[in-house]
């Protein structure tokens, strides 16, 4: 009986310690590419959607962010906003803010 109570108390204490450990984790996360699909989109002003475009504000969250090593990103030495070869057949331009 006492052994059971001691065991239960220990488990409760461990659970509380685990919670505290999570809450006090480091403020800074490792820099990672973000998952846009997890961020609600915003608009400058409500406008009629252009044909072929999906209204930005209605997109669902579908993808989690993943951790990638920033050192692996192929940064263009001539333009710090660009990743990948300058002569790539396909270029994706993203217009966004950080907030």
């Amino acid at each position: 009986m006492n052994r059971t109570r001691v065991w239960s108390s220990a488990m409760v204490a461990l659970f509380i310690m685990a919670l505290l450990g999570t809450a006090c984790g480091p403020e800074m996360a490792t820099p990672t590419p973000r998952g846009d699909a997890g961020t609600p989109a915003a608009t400058v002003a409500a406008k009629t959607p252009v044909a072929g475009q999906t209204p930005a504000a209605t997109q669902p969250a579908t993808a989690p962010a993943v951790t990638l090593d920033p050192g692996e990103l192929p940064v263009d030495p001539n333009d710090w906003h660009a990743l990948g070869p300058a002569d790539a057949k396909v270029t994706i331009v993203e217009y966004s803010d950080f907030q």
Binding site: P33, A37, H81, G84, I92, Y95
Partner: protein
């Protein structure tokens, strides 16, 4: 950017990706955070700051004054602090960020995030499949992607679980 696009197309050098600033006025710190990224960029840490800003958005987005936090990020990224602080405080890249935004407006951008895959616009947080299809379309020189015949039904093309199905009743004459 969608993580799967990064890993499958950008990290493999198949696609070039360019980030353009489009700081919305409704986002109080959008302009200054963009400038912080530029100031990190001149020290070779644009993408590290880009990621740090997004990943720690909850730490500064609702702040009364986010600038100290941006400077703290610069410290964490081991930037030349004096150079970064001066860059941010003097608004060295204010005009450049605004120029980006004006270029976006000229290109028809009305909200964030907005994408252009070559000339094809994609607005909002699109699913990976949408990016994949558009990228492959562009890689094929603008030709439509090849139709995929369903393995279990030779009368069907496309995904079996597609949200929209077009059924045609016809003859061959």
């Amino acid at each position: 950017m969608f993580p799967q696009v990064v890993s499958e197309y950008i990290q493999t050098n198949k696609v070039r990706y360019v980030f353009k600033n489009f700081p919305l006025q409704i986002h109080q710190w959008a302009q200054k955070s963009a400038e912080a990224a530029e100031c990190a960029g001149e020290q070779g840490q644009y993408w590290a700051m880009h990621d740090a800003l997004f990943n720690n958005q909850d730490q500064w987005s609702g702040s009364q004054d986010a600038v100290p936090y941006f400077k703290q990020l610069a410290t964490t990224l081991k930037l030349d602090q004096a150079k970064f602080d001066s860059c941010l405080d003097t608004g060295k890249y204010t005009a450049a960020v605004q120029a980006d935004m004006q270029a976006g407006i000229q290109a028809g951008v009305t909200g964030t995030p907005a994408f252009r895959v070559n000339d094809v616009p994609l607005s909002g947080a699109q699913p990976f499949e949408q990016f994949k299809q558009t990228i492959e379309y562009a890689q094929a020189g603008g030709k439509p992607p090849a139709l995929v015949v369903a393995a279990d039904d030779f009368r069907s093309m496309g995904e079996a679980d597609a949200p929209v199905v077009i059924t045609e009743f016809s003859d061959f004459q």
